[in-house]
């Protein structure tokens, strides 16, 4: 039966897939709009584009990018770069625990604080996306809220606040998204223990008793 509604898109040739030239253009355009707030950029060859901006220019970046055509709000979340002190809960208690490294090594576009907030915007017409990052100061973890620029950021910021403890100034109601109201602690922080793996002893621990009689040195059974 003929399609019900009168609308069907004329299948015009989709815009050319973004090359790296387009990405450099975007970075220059962003530099022109917000000046030295752009601290570090990284372009993975014809794959993706990362930009790190200074913390206080976070909302300004959003406005600049939206003006530049990045109208599709994909997501916004947090990153905690502290390696987890608890490990996987799958250590062999007999072996002595190796010393956990506590050195904070941030990812692609660097950064010097423990927490970072990152978001992704997409320009639908030019089929290109950009991931924006910003450091969150350790002492007062708070960033400007994007809800005035992108209405969709409301829920994402509530979840990020609830999971990482990063404050968002100017957010209408920063209630908990998933966790009960009186939940204390921020689960997605690396130093928040995953209790389910603390209680149950790990069945993967090798307990193959050695030979009862001989006492010559038996090789370690576990591979």
């Amino acid at each position: 039966m003929a399609p019900l509604s009168d609308s069907d898109t004329t299948q015009e040739e989709p815009a050319a897939l973004p090359g790296d030239g387009l990405r450099e253009g975007i970075v220059d355009d962003l530099r022109r709009r917000i000046g030295d707030a752009v601290i570090d950029t990284h372009i993975a060859p014809n794959d993706d584009l990362w930009v790190r901006v200074s913390t206080d220019a976070w909302r300004q970046t959003a406005e600049a990018l939206k003006a530049a055509g990045f109208t599709f709000f994909s997501f916004l979340s947090g990153l905690d770069w502290l390696p987890s002190p608890y490990g996987k809960g799958e250590e062999d208690p007999t072996a002595e625990p190796e010393e956990p490294d506590t050195e904070i090594r941030p990812g692609v576009t660097g950064g010097d604080t423990r927490f970072q907030v990152f978001a992704r915007l997409v320009d639908i017409d030019r089929h290109v996306g950009i991931t924006v990052k910003a450091d969150v100061p350790d002492d007062a973890p708070a960033v400007d809220s994007w809800t005035t620029v992108f209405a969709g950021a409301n829920w994402h910021e509530r979840e990020c606040h609830e999971m990482f403890g990063i404050g968002f100034n100017g957010h209408p109601d920063l209630r908990n998204m998933y966790l009960p109201g009186d939940f204390e602690g921020f689960p997605l922080r690396k130093d928040f223990p995953l209790l389910s793996r603390m209680i149950k002893p790990w069945p993967g621990i090798v307990d193959v008793e050695p030979m009862p009689a001989q006492d010559e040195p038996e090789e370690d059974a576990s591979s």
Partner: protein, 390 residues
């Protein structure tokens, strides 16, 4: 917001008026109604708190968290193969489609690519899980509106697709078939022509649903002009998939980015609809199911011979780095931002699921709407709870 039809204007003004009327004119005392968390119209445990004036919703706010399993915390303590078993439980209706972006992100970090045969079979199984997911939606749409028959037809025809997925992968709902670098196994004998017959059945199902439901004047009067979402508000909230295309935005991740998958080998039409109302969203999904059947039929003839898995070490340590891959999942755009520090498991995985954004627009769209329309709009937005709460 030029596209706002007078219906939406009307209900918006009514919503405002309801606010005023609540406390001034009739001193009618508003009633707070909890739809959910156990409610037949929500796919899982979503709770909508709405304040009513009579039958009209003055203020609505979804309460999530009843299905929160803390996936992003779990991924920190698991290795890559263990995370794939975890990840196909997010959108449990089209579950193979969840594994693919995560595996592609890991492959991008290791910069290896699956052999062409594996890419082709991945795309076919991806489209099959889309058909399984959306055909259930088409049947369930009827139940939300009160028609009992379509849901049984949906479950009957969806059974064929699930048997196909189980035949190839072993699991009906949680195939866990995707590995970094390729697939776990190859297709069993006779699977390809069985799939062709099933595709014919699925097209008949789409035609039946189109006549039984979409042609029905009652259905149209219930759906047209309800819950209109203009394009720029949809983009603001990050709606994706059929919800975005129904507002007239021509954006389909299968065509608009080059992933190491086989979508470019099949020609398919991206359907959009100018109205952006509930009917448009469901209509676009119906046409997409037909497109998926066409894609599967085209790809079935082009499966190249060759290995199913590239050379990959037994114990996989993904090199350090960050990668973002998103694909056009049945519910919308689903993406994974995988951060790896070079050991067995990922350091941090941000799961961008489609329904989280699709539902964040509910407080805006439900203002000044009747109670039965709350169910219509929720049904047309089509979310899965595991997707929202992760």
């Amino acid at each position: 917001m030029t596209m706002m039809s007078d219906r939406q204007q009307l209900s918006y003004i009514a919503g405002q008026a309801a606010d005023a009327r609540l406390n001034v004119e009739l001193e009618t005392e508003g009633m707070t109604l909890n739809i959910g968390p156990q409610h037949p119209a929500t796919h899982g445990t979503l709770r909508i708190i709405c304040r009513l004036d009579g039958e009209q919703v003055v203020w609505a706010e979804p309460g999530c968290g009843y299905m929160h399993r803390g996936y992003e915390k779990l991924t920190e303590v698991r290795t890559f193969p263990q995370v794939t078993t975890l990840v196909n439980r997010i959108d449990w209706l089209g579950s193979f489609a969840n594994e693919v972006p995560f595996i592609l992100a890991a492959e991008k970090l290791m910069d290896i690519e699956a052999p062409p045969r594996a890419q082709m079979i991945r795309t076919i199984l991806f489209e099959l899980s889309r058909i399984a997911n959306v055909s259930l939606f088409l049947g369930d749409l009827g139940v939300q509106m009160g028609a009992i028959t379509p849901v049984f037809l949906a479950f009957r025809d969806r059974e064929y697709v699930l048997n196909l997925i189980e035949g190839a992968t072993g699991g009906r709902f949680h195939p866990n078939f995707d590995r970094i670098g390729g697939l776990k196994d190859d297709l069993p004998k006779g699977w390809i022509d069985e799939t062709r017959q099933v595709m014919v059945k699925l097209r008949e199902f789409c035609d039946i649903i189109e006549d039984l439901l979409f042609g029905n004047e009652i259905f149209q009067s219930r759906m047209r002009g309800i819950g209109i979402i203009p394009a720029d508000i949809a983009k603001d909230y990050g709606l994706s998939g059929a919800n975005l295309r129904a507002s007239g935005v021509d954006y389909d991740l299968r065509r608009d980015q080059d992933l190491p998958m086989a979508w470019d080998k099949a020609d398919f039409k991206v359907w959009t609809h100018p109205d952006g109302d509930s009917f448009a969203r469901c209509w676009v999904r119906l046409q997409e199911t037909r497109e998926s059947c066409r894609i599967v039929e085209q790809l079935l003839d082009q499966i190249p011979a060759g290995p199913i898995m590239t050379k990959v070490p037994r114990i996989i340590k993904v090199p350090e780095g960050e990668a973002w891959v998103s694909t056009e999942n049945p519910l919308g755009e689903m993406g994974y931002y995988v951060v790896s520090k070079g050991d067995l498991g990922p350091f941090r995985v941000k799961i961008r699921s489609a329904s989280f954004n699709n539902i964040s627009i509910v407080p805006w769209v439900l203002k000044g709407v009747y109670v039965p329309d709350v169910i219509t709009i929720l049904a047309s937005l089509y979310f899965i709870l595991g997707d929202i709460d992760r």
